[in-house]
Subunit: 432 residues, 2 copies
């Protein structure tokens, strides 16, 4: 059944789609489920076919975006859709680290990813590049918000028609951050899992490229760049421990795959990296299965403010559990109140305004430190995956208020006096 | 009066503050107005004192942020506050260029600048680095929003206390995008010019570092990096024409200064670059003076949705006019309705969601093209300076609506049918 495209360039290592369960191989088409065992398909590569070996120098000479890792990505073109996605900062934490009692904490900040301020720009850049190669003229997605933003923005830049599906109760910033690009938006009365099921039906009946359904084997590979970049930014070295959010579980498994590929290609030394995952208690099917030592997921109905990671039936949940277990990591969940505290903690210590998903990850990081599950000396990387401007509802009412003053020195002085006697969170909007 | 610091490193070319009007020189302290003629002070440099010459290679070997240009910036430290600010994408425009009939249009996208999504992160990174060198422990600013976001975020990362002043009627996203970092926020009942006057009084009575008042000579130099980056990203070449927004006029003059410094240091060939400026009609004191061929500004009272550039009494207005005139550029203004159309045009063609200031710049670009004031062949760079998620109010009600559907294939099919018969802007939220 394996058949590689004859016109494939020597700068692409993409070989076939391969079932993660039974290993059956498939042509490099828009398909995502194994015909034999219904397992998920994943892109596989033959790096030996590249005309030039991949070296640190060849990567460093590449563009300042995810496309510096093109040989590891499931595309064949030499001219991918490059809107500057990726190469977001890896910040050494000072104030948050001190507060938590950690000595080697790093923050990978995809809250400022380009163009739409979440890690989804990585997967969408890859998926739409592949969609063009496969001849699609209309692209689509089932989204909890960030993916809709990204698909709509990058599709219009690339001249592709776009129709996105979102749950009808999404945050205003995410809806507007999609509509502005001019796609067709379908607001589905239901949760993400219902949106996803509807989209699977549409994918079967229309000739559209759904980035996270029939293009999923290509799309999901984009998350590997979150592994590559961290390794490169640490000076070509793997970290000791990573903490990342779990929605479908895909991101988690792809960071792992990215690290392994770097080791296998001699770009970094091998090392045991611990993988810990974060979920919101209101939608924590993976954390629950982990806690109960199950190797299957019981789907749940999401009820949390962390909507972008609220997937009740996570496709890669069992793979995420497997990785956490075999790397001596863990999976933990936190309440909505802890999520808001996590958002504030990150903003007030490091100047990073993340959305609820990032708040979840920071809150889990804190919980793991307090439980002694992170060694203070460990080189720990925490992944921040989206921007707080998109989920302003989450922190409204819990971040203090401005002092309303007249444009006079005396009015300012009185407000300043008052600010010094009040705890910030007790502030009320007052005219002084 | 000139006195250079004795402990200044050989990697800094910073020499003195110099009056732009009478040329008097001052020590490198927190001061911004000439004692003799009340002209504005500006940082001056002696590049010959550097122990290593500045070359393209030395810049390219630097960090992936504005600090690759450190030798051109008014700081002395070798460890500035670097949160990844700068090196935002310069995108070759395809769809917008085609729509406007331009052949060589580029978009400098600071809507995704780090950490707070506007060009202000550049000037604040410089100002707060200098504030630390000068020994300030509390920093402040008078802001139309973006500056408050940036000052609060970078101050907290650097461990500085922070108090910001904003007009009380600011967009919700900008207020929240400041409060989240935990500074003291003073919401002043008045417009930006009143806020600014109050802050000048506070600067005189408190020992605070106001980034855009007593630290302004350092702060404003950060905008030069918008010139350096464009030149480097064009392959070490200057553009033919730039279009940028005008608020105080400072950004405009500093891009010019940046280009000149690159020429003077042999990094790019000299070339005539045309400078065109953009204002909102509801606050266009610079455009009005330009149109009436005045060499002075008549202050105005702002009334426009483009709040981030609504400065009625612009400090660098006359310098901006001078540059537009001597480079054969122009200054133009557009209505609020045109600004919204500009935001939509950029989003729908290039996938970039900018705030009202960016909409102003795009609308002016369009107007200049239609008036024959931009040659289709000219290598034109348009500067996008902020993110649309912060000014969602501006486009609410003008960007279409989602189709509300049930999670069923039939409901989707009916909505799709309807979407094809309707112009997007006529859509209403309908349950199909």
């Amino acid at each position: 059944m394996t058949q590689t495209l004859t016109n494939q360039s020597r700068s692409s290592a993409l070989k076939a789609l391969k079932c993660k369960e039974c290993g059956a191989e498939y042509e490099l088409q828009a398909t995502h489920v194994c015909e034999f065992c219904f397992g998920p398909l994943e892109a596989s590569y033959d790096f030996s076919r590249l005309s030039q070996p991949i070296t640190r120098e060849s990567i460093e000479a590449g563009p300042n975006s995810i496309w510096r890792y093109r040989s590891f990505l499931p595309v064949e073109t030499d001219t991918p859709i490059d809107v500057g996605t990726g190469m977001t900062p890896l910040l050494k934490s000072h104030r948050l680290a001190r507060q938590l009692g950690l000595k080697n904490l790093y923050i990978k900040n995809d809250a400022v990813n380009m163009p739409t301020l979440s890690f989804k720009d990585r997967v969408v850049s890859v998926a739409l590049t592949r969609a063009q190669e496969l001849g699609f003229s209309t692209v689509s997605c089932a989204s909890t918000g960030n993916l809709a933003n990204s698909t709509a923005a990058i599709a219009t830049r690339a001249g592709l028609d776009c129709c996105v599906f979102i749950p009808a109760d999404l945050e205003a910033g995410k809806v507007m951050g999609t509509l502005i690009y001019g796609p067709t938006v379908m607001a589905v009365q239901g949760n993400y899992d219902q949106v996803n099921r509807l989209c699977s039906e549409v994918a079967n009946t229309h000739g559209w490229g759904f980035v996270n359904i029939n293009l999923r084997p290509y799309y999901s590979e984009g998350s590997k760049t979150l592994g590559y970049e961290v390794a490169e930014q640490l000076g070509w070295e793997l970290p000791d421990h990573i903490v990342a959010p779990l929605a479908s579980g895909s991101l988690f498994t792809k960071i792992y795959k990215g690290f392994r590929e770097f080791v296998d290609n001699g770009l970094v030394d091998d090392k045991a990296v611990r993988f810990s995952g974060a979920q919101a208690e209101g939608c924590s099917p993976i954390a629950q299965a982990y806690k109960e030592d199950r190797d299957f997921i019981n789907p749940v109905k999401p009820n949390t403010i962390a909507k972008s990671i609220a997937i009740g039936n996570p496709a890669d949940g069992v793979y995420a559990i497997d990785i956490a277990k075999k790397t001596n990591g863990t999976i933990e969940s936190v309440t909505d109140a802890e999520i808001v505290e996590g958002m504030k903690l990150l903003a007030e210590t490091e100047g990073i305004f993340t959305e609820t998903a990032g708040g979840t990850t920071i809150a889990v990081l804190k919980k793991l430190v307090e439980a002694g599950k992170i060694d203070p000396e460990e080189k720990t990387v925490v992944y921040i995956t989206g921007n707080g401007l998109k989920t302003q509802e989450a922190v409204q009412g819990c971040i203090g208020q401005p002092f309303e003053i007249e444009p006079k020195l005396g009015s300012f002085e009185r407000a300043l006096e008052r600010s010094r006697t009040l705890d910030r969170l007790d502030w009320q909007p007052v005219l002084v």
